[in-house]
Amino acid sequence: MFNSLILGAGFNTGDILYQLFAFIVLLALLKKFAWGPLMGIMKDREQHIANEIESAEKNRKEAEAYLNEQREEMKRVRQEAQTMLENQKQMADQKGQEMIEAARLEAERLKEAASADIARERETAVASLREQVASLSVMIASKVVEKELDERSQQKLIDDYLYQAGGQK
């Protein structure tokens, strides 16, 4: 059994040619209809993926650069804000200092004016007091003089006048 399939027994030259023919035809057909297009799409995909990777890489680099730029900008802005804040603070400090100084000067001025006023007032008061004292003392003196003159002085005066009159004679 199967003797027809054993090597040599079934050596059919036609089969050889037919197999060759069939395989070559199959190869040609597949090349045209299947492998060619398949190869094409796989190459396309490879290209596509390569492009995608490239663009992704580019995008990543761009994003990184942008991020760095933003970071720098942020730093700069923060610094600026810091300096502005400091300036502001300094200015406010200065202003406060100035205001305090001005207030102090004003107070000084007011105090001086007040003390000058007080001195002047005292001066006038003293002057008027002196005046009054003088007039009062004159008044008192005149009263006293008047009183003493009335008895003894009149006598003396009379005596004096009498003396003088006698002497002249």
Binding site: M1, F2, S4, L5, L7, G10, F11, N12, T13, G14, D15, I16, L17, Y18, Q19, L20, A22, F23, V25, L26, L27, L29, L30, K31, F33, A34, W35, P37, L38, M39, G40, I41, M42, D44, R45, H48
Partner: protein, 237 residues
């Protein structure tokens, strides 16, 4: 159980085993239809059969890549893919059933015939010589027979023939043996109730094993094709 091949009388000095002619045609048609259907709607994002056929392509690419660099090996991609699919389909054809008609065996694996496998093997070896001359020049090609030692020439010569024989007969032997055992088990199964019960499990196991063997043999055939090719066309070796 007596099986004969449906052989014709001489036509133009050639004899045809019509069963082989039939099965070669069927195997070729199946491969062609499978490949064309798989590559009908090609998309950047592969789906379904396209995935499968791309896997085949990558697989053969890997086979070629493991034996020679892509610059020289790229041209053998289509040959490798066609060989792989054709031999695989051929190996599988004989598995599910064998059809005999009028004591003639019609349906079988075309690769279960040494004529067919040796034809394929010879074709491959002739191609290696062709590409060897074409890509390295006749002088370099001739030199290949005398390296590394001059006295190795006879062995190198014998090697070419033994390569052809082993390449073809390995495939034939594996597939033919598988089919014989399947045929015997089928005969046992058809003998009676007991036979059917007894043959069922071995049949199952052997069919599974035959699928494995058929796949491995297709792979080995293509692998060796690329190895022989690399031997002839690559600069190092």
């Amino acid at each position: 159980m007596e099986h004969h091949a449906p052989t014709t009388d001489e036509i133009l000095g050639l004899t045809f085993n019509l069963s082989n002619v039939l099965m070669i045609t069927i195997a070729s048609a199946i491969v062609f239809i499978l490949a064309v259907v798989a590559t009908r709607s090609l998309a950047m994002r592969p789906t379904g059969l396209q995935n499968f056929i791309e896997w085949v392509m990558d697989f053969v690419k890997g086979l070629i890549g493991s034996t020679m660099d892509w610059q020289t090996g790229g041209r053998f991609l289509f040959l490798g893919m066609t060989l792989l699919m054709y031999i695989f389909v051929s190996n599988m054809l004989g598995l599910p059933f064998a059809i005999t008609f009028d004591h003639n065996l019609w349906w079988k694996s075309p690769t279960a015939d040494p004529t067919i496998t040796l034809t394929l093997a010879t074709m491959v070896v002739v191609l290696t010589h062709y590409y060897g001359v074409k890509m390295k020049g006749a002088k370099e090609y001739g030199k290949g027979f005398f390296t590394p030692m001059k006295f190795l020439f006879p062995f190198k010569l014998i090697e070419e023939f033994s390569n052809t024989l082993t390449l073809g007969l390995r495939l034939y032997g594996n597939i033919f043996a598988g089919e014989i055992l399947l045929g015997l088990l089928a005969g046992l199964g058809a003998a009676g109730i007991g036979g059917a019960l007894g043959a069922f499990l071995p049949m199952l196991a052997w069919q599974g094993f035959s699928i494995f063997v058929g796949t491995i043999q297709a792979f080995i055939f293509v692998m060796l094709t690329m190895v022989y090719m690399a031997h002839k066309v690559a600069d190092d070796h």
